[in-house]
Symmetry: C2
Subunit: 304 residues, 2 copies
């Protein structure tokens, strides 16, 4: 798919995301806590989730005459909020009592750099900051939309979402689980936050119910595809390219799509999901020059 404007769009949106995250984490006191939070969030990561929020909202908006400033601002805050949730989950996931990992985004993990207690608190405070970001309000029309984002992000992050998926992951170590249980774990652990990114973009764009349903189908396929590719990369890539420890699923005896379906089966599933995602986009009337197709291809063909 040809999308000559993508690189420019991505650079512009990444600059807005980095600026807001940097500002949100600017406080100096308490020194260690703030330094640990910045270490976890800034200068790293693909920012896939925030880009999903913004690309989704803009793909719907593109066809409209004008976008209110508050809605664009809220979409940017929602984008940064989901990245903060993702970052907190990585900090806690890397801790010794969980995956005990030392490398993340090409840097020492937070507990290695700042100690376990500070890593625990930094993860906690990053989660809080995500919800704080969604709360300011500039327009009388905004609270209903912002509160809908709080609801979507909380459900996607908690016991019926990401944290629930991590608990299933924890209980599955060394277990033989079938493909459907594995899909449920991935649906929650990784899929929930990716789906929430698409949903928050759709909410900020205040799109119609049938648009939201089609975008949701796209998010479902994309979220699952992301995890399948993650499992494939864990066995086919290197620690250098990934920026995190390669081969750790097998080392931790964790069930993955590759351990369940084999490498070729996992690659075939990724292709099927790729087609499903594009088919879902085909049902939508989106702005010319939107980037959802390009993002779909990026998720499938990424190397880290």
């Amino acid at each position: 798919m040809s999308d000559p404007g993508f690189a420019q769009w991505q650079a512009r949106e990444l600059a807005r995301i980095e600026a807001m995250l940097t500002q949100a984490l600017a406080a100096q006191d308490p020194q260690d806590l703030m330094a640990a939070m910045r270490h976890a969030v800034l200068d790293g990561g693909k920012r896939l989730r925030p880009l999903l929020v913004l690309a989704t909202a803009q793909a719907v908006w593109g066809a409209r005459a004008s976008v209110p400033d508050w809605a664009d601002g809220l979409a940017l805050r929602a984008a940064c909020a989901v990245e903060l949730i993702h970052a907190y989950s990585l900090v806690h996931d890397d801790m010794p009592c969980m995956d005990n990992d030392v490398l993340r985004r090409g840097k020492p993990t937070v507990h290695v750099a700042f100690g376990e207690a500070t890593a625990l608190l930094a993860g906690d405070a990053l989660q809080t900051l995500a919800f704080e970001l969604l709360a300011p309000q500039a327009d009388p029309a905004e609270p209903t939309v912002a509160l809908a984002c709080v609801s979507v992000l909380a459900k996607a992050s908690g016991h019926v979402g990401m944290a629930g998926g991590q608990a299933i992951d924890l209980a599955s170590v060394g277990q033989l689980i079938d493909a459907s249980r594995l899909k449920r774990m991935h649906d929650l652990k990784t899929g929930a936050l990716l789906r929430a990114s698409v949903a928050m973009g759709a909410i900020c764009a205040q799109c119609a119910p049938q648009e939201r349903a089609a975008l949701s189908a796209w998010g479902d396929a994309l979220g699952y595809a992301f995890q399948v590719v993650d499992d494939i990369l864990d066995v086919t890539s290197t620690t250098d390219v990934l920026g995190k420890t390669a081969g750790k699923d097998e080392a931790h005896d964790k069930p993955t799509v590759v351990s369940t379906l084999g490498l070729e089966g996992a690659k075939a599933l990724a292709q099927t999901l790729h087609q499903q995602a594009h088919a879902a986009l085909g049902q939508l009337t989106l702005a010319p020059g939107h980037h959802l197709g390009t993002i779909t291809d990026w998720v499938i063909h990424r190397i880290n």
Copy 2:
């Protein structure tokens, strides 16, 4: 202060709080995670923070003709939300990398009962659930008020609130710190959430700015008094009476009001704050039969 209706009011409100918390934690899957979350929250605790939310809102409402159902419902959800934040902070605070405590609310701590990884996830998911509780909406007037509660609770919980206070606490172990630094630590670590409870009650009651300012002054005095009494009880009470390990501040070489001012100095400070709290209440026109004075006395004279 005579308040014959207090015990009955407390029993009725506690029943509403327990019912909502029980319902919010009713899910069975993932089994370990949900059991750990229930262990941390149900059947224990004074529920001071939720009672503060409800008592504050009702003290303002009492003088009015009618209270909308959504506002009463939101106050109850805010009450449970602040208790979930408090509960998550205890789970994480008790973990081996923090205070490494084995007893809480008269029961084994969550990491002792369920393991460290599940305790970490349970704390994370309890925080998320707090924000999820604030997000549903039943009335068009509600989102603005609910989002204001999200903002207050997030600020009080994060790096400029409770988590920030814990980070200062962590950095202060074994240090000589002066009374003003100690007060700042307490302001954040314990005071922020107590003040947020009062603030959310005032927000749900949609009270006037001058009422909110006086309630805020009450919350300031009450929050600090609570921590001073906590520090006193840590040296004067027993593990059995407290339901948590007594004497642990000294064992961990932590600066406290008692280590800074001495036991008699701490008791004198508690009395001063007690008077300041009642003076703040004296500036308000509250409903006859309100319970804010009784709660003030309870915070000062409590034995655990």
